[in-house]
């Protein structure tokens, strides 16, 4: 799928090894097992939920990624991976015009839950509520996690893959009867 380059110390001449943020992350978190991907000149770092807050604080304070552009909950049910839910964070550094993505795999498939980054970037508030409302991912430490889009009393999480899109099924399908005229048939 993506050109997956693991941190196994081999010398590969590409953008990933020369990138300053990747080098800084590897140096500062040398005991952790991060996966670094690069696809179409965009760098993604896959981390585990327990390291999310420390990596976020590091990227904000040491690497100057002052803005969280978005965070999206993804349901990977149909992608045949070992996990079901992941959350993608996109960060922006204004001074270098640099973007980086963090990918956090949720450990529990039935009740996915992650620590909230509202303490790091205050703008994560609505984005996390959206991920909760639409995909069903809980964020611990969020000031007021509630449904923002769907109406009160809505059951289910619409953007999960097992939630059907349509509100009405199409009722008729016309097939010609033996005498050649169309008829409505369920």
């Amino acid at each position: 799928m993506q050109s997956q380059i693991e941190d196994d110390g081999m010398n590969r001449s590409n953008n990933l090894d020369r990138d300053e943020d990747v080098i800084a992350l590897k140096k500062n978190f040398h005991s952790s097992n991060f996966l670094f991907f690069e696809y179409l000149d965009q760098i993604t770092v896959q981390i585990s939920p327990s390291e999310l807050l420390s990596v976020s604080n590091f990227l904000l304070k040491e690497r100057n990624f002052k803005q969280l552009s978005f965070l999206a909950g993804v349901d990977c049910l149909e992608l045949n991976l070992e996990y079901r839910f992941k959350v993608v964070y996109s960060l922006l550094d204004f001074e270098r015009s640099k973007r980086i993505r963090l990918e956090v795999i949720c450990e529990n498939d039935l009740m996915p839950s992650l620590p909230s980054v509202c303490s790091v970037w205050t703008g994560a508030n609505y984005h996390e509520s959206e991920a909760f409302d639409l995909v069903g991912i809980q964020f611990e430490g969020h000031p007021n996690l509630e449904r923002i889009f769907t109406p009160e009393g809505f059951e289910g999480f619409p953007h999960r893959k097992d939630f059907d899109v349509s509100s009405e099924t199409v009722e008729f399908s016309f097939r010609p009867t033996p005498d050649g005229k169309p008829s409505a048939k369920e």
């Binding site: 889009f149 769907t150 109406p151 619409p158 939630f163 059907d164 899109v165 349509s166 509100s167 009405e168």
Partner: protein, 162 residues
């Protein structure tokens, strides 16, 4: 009215119901209910090129208690439907509803979990105006058809069951 030229003096004879219907249809004041993209076309209709106040819709009243026409312009989500019904109930009789655009009439391009598939599931609709979004001329045509409808129907409307 041209009748004055045909009669001597300044007396006009007619039925009172015709006079009331004439007053009602020529001064339909819409309540502001612009929801989405159709609202922008509704604003264009009220701007200077396709001036809607030529047809009597002089002011868009923000308060539903002072309006008699509700133009539902835009897609109605399931969260908004109770609000729509509440605004409709706050309008005094006689009142009419124009459903503007494909999303308000039938759900439009969006056949999914979040939208009410046609606003007539929530309020009784008099005129459906098609389009995505409808041109201002289409909306004006809808209002003119509503005026003809008002002229044709009775004074006390059969809306007991709505």
């Amino acid at each position: 009215m041209g009748l004055e030229e045909k009669l001597e003096g300044s007396v006009v004879l007619g039925r009172i119901s015709d006079a009331i219907k004439w007053a009602r249809k020529n001064s339909l004041w819409p309540a502001l209910f612009g929801l989405a993209c159709c609202a922008i076309e509704m604003m264009s209709t009220s701007a200077s090129k396709y001036d809607i106040s030529r047809f009597g819709a002089e002011v868009f009243r923000a308060s539903p208690r002072q309006a008699d026409l509700m133009i539902v312009a835009g897609r109605v989500s399931k969260k908004m439907a109770p609000v729509l019904r509440q605004i409709y109930d706050q309008m005094p009789e006689p009142k009419w509803v124009i459903s503007m655009g494909a999303c308000a009439s039938t759900g439009g391009v969006f056949n999914n979990y979040a939208l009410v598939q046609g606003v007539d599931e929530v309020v009784p609709v008099d005129i459906y105006v098609p389009g995505c979004p409808p041109r201002p001329e289409t909306l004006i045509d809808g209002i003119l058809k509503l005026q003809k409808k008002i002229e044709a129907e009775g004074l006390v409307k059969n809306k007991i069951l709505s």
